[in-house]
């Protein structure tokens, strides 16, 4: 991923800045600039998510793409944020710990790197919050 492509999403990846539509009250993460429900009647503003949520479903990745090969096995989950949106994220826990409905909270972590001398990508992972 190019530096500009990563840099432009730093507010979302580091600080969970999404959006909300003040017309209907729906929350969006990742942010949307166009409300699918209100369409042109929508009014989109930034919103900082707490990041707290619960596991909807999960897996353990044991065969990964090149960037993640050295990190296997890792736990991947869909997390439903308390405001409503669902996201895909890694969980910092053992494969035995993860379960559906488990409460989680965000942590700032290294996600991947472009080789040994390339860009290091940081972002948000989740840890059990119980």
């Amino acid at each position: 991923m190019s530096v500009a492509r990563f840099w432009r999403k730093i507010p979302q990846r580091y600080n969970l800045i999404g959006t909300t539509c003040t017309t209907c009250g729906r929350y969006f993460f990742p942010p949307r600039s166009f409300c699918p429900d209100c369409r042109r009647a929508g009014n989109i503003v930034d919103y900082k998510f707490s990041g707290k949520g619960a596991v909807v479903t999960h897996t353990v990745i044991r065969t990964a793409s090149e960037q993640f090969e050295k990190m296997t096995p890792y736990v991947l989950a869909i997390v439903k944020l308390d405001e409503g949106p669902r996201i895909t994220a890694q969980l910092v826990c053992t494969p035995e710990e993860v379960r559906i409905g488990m409460r989680v909270k965000p942590v700032f972590r290294k996600i991947a790197a472009d080789g040994e001398s390339g860009v290091i990508y940081y972002g948000t992972k989740y840890v059990p919050a119980e």
Partner: protein
């Protein structure tokens, strides 16, 4: 709108074809289809080719022209168009060809699909396939394709009665069918033990729950129904062509375990054909993973949500069952060259409806269905064919 018929079909063998290049694969399938149709190159009015990622797999774009050129059609200057929708590229290529003929714009049209996947290492192909999902918000955090379908499986098994053995039976059944298909990548039967003892890829999915990395190409020739008998005694009519889309990410779906695009495309296809599931003699569904076949059977309406595992276990979807599913061996055993799969599904239905499917022939089959999925369900193409 004109009625459309398939007048010829061809397919390469599927597998790790180290001695075949991207363009060789397509030319082989194209020649087989044209010979089958009895059509000469200069009679072709248009060409559509489904291809997911020649750019990543063989660093080649501009596929439409390349293929027309190597098919020997450069001097005819026919319109040649690449169609891309990840693993549904072939299904959409077929649909574009159907639309073209139905509209009256073109008469003799080739719909093809091709993918050459083994020229990159497996880590690179895993990453390329992850591009069928959302790169920014799924791939970036380490989601793989098997991982996304594994999360469907986890959700499904938490909500519905599906045992590990029932899920494995999907692969066992598809390998049984593949063993009777001379183009299949895997022509060996397996047991439930083979599946449940294979290595974990993304829990709960194991290696034998996953379709393989495959090279292959397939092509079919379409014509207006009222001209079809100029070329063949066995035209197959296109009874319905439907397509639907949904959110690109799995996490944004209304229901993790239901592919709403499959539901929508299936309903549209039945409505267009004026048929119901009771009319379908066999169906090729998109079993990129065993759980995907379970979802597809239900989402297309062959049974209620939560019942497909039991149906599979009871043999209802087997060759001799009430609803034979994936007689070709499916993506699991026949192989999954992503851009070619949607056309291979049509190829299988053509063979079955003509009574040319050999050891896997469904006796008396007159109506068949194909179901081709892009990504985790963001695009679905459904076709119904009949004689």
């Amino acid at each position: 709108m004109r009625d459309v018929a398939v007048i010829g079909a061809g397919c390469t063998t599927f597998g790790e074809k180290w001695n075949m290049s991207f363009r060789n694969l397509f030319v082989e399938a194209g020649i087989l289809a044209l010979e089958d149709a009895g059509v000469a190159g200069e009679q072709i009015d248009g060409l559509y080719v489904g291809n997911m990622s020649a750019g990543r797999f063989v660093e080649q774009e501009h596929i439409g022209a390349l293929i027309a050129d190597y098919a020997g059609l450069a001097s005819h200057h026919i319109p040649a168009t690449r169609v891309e929708a990840a693993c549904a590229s072939g299904g959409l290529s077929f649909r574009q060809a159907v639309i073209s003929v139905a509209s009256g714009m073109e008469d003799i049209v080739v719909a093809a699909g091709v993918e050459k996947m083994t020229d990159v290492a497996s880590g690179a192909s895993v990453d390329t396939l992850a591009g069928a999902a959302d790169r920014e918000w799924e791939g970036f955090v380490g989601a793989t394709f098997p991982g996304l379908y594994a999360m469907i499986a986890t959700d499904y098994m938490n909500r519905y009665p599906l045992t590990r053995e029932q899920l494995a039976q999907v692969a066992v059944k598809n390998h049984f069918n593949g063993a009777r298909n001379p183009i299949a990548q895997f022509q060996q039967e397996i047991t439930i033990d083979t599946v449940v003892r294979s290595s974990l890829v993304a829990d709960p999915l194991r290696l034998f729950d996953c379709s393989p990395i495959t090279d292959g190409a397939a092509a079919v020739v379409l014509a207006p129904l009222d001209r079809a008998r100029e070329f063949t005694d066995t035209p197959v009519k296109v009874l319905a062509s439907a397509q639907a889309s949904d959110t690109i990410t799995l996490h944004d779906r209304r229901d993790i375990s239901t592919l709403d695009a499959s539901v929508a495309a299936g309903r549209r296809a039945f409505q267009m054909a004026g048929l119901s599931i009771a009319d379908i003699d066999l169906v090729e569904v998109h079993d990129c993973f065993t759980i995907a076949e379970i979802c597809a059977i239900e989402d297309l309406g062959f049974c209620r949500k939560g019942e497909a595992g039991r149906l599979t276990e009871e043999g209802v979807t087997a060759l001799d069952g009430d609803i034979p599913v994936n007689t070709s061996g499916g993506l699991k055993a026949c192989g999954h060259p992503v851009g070619a799969t949607g056309i291979k599904q049509v190829f299988e239905i053509i063979q079955q409806l003509r009574g040319e499917a050999g050891k896997r022939q469904i006796d008396g089959a007159v109506i068949g269905m194909t179901h081709n999925v892009g990504g985790t369900g963001a695009t679905v193409a459904v076709h119904i064919l009949g004689v």
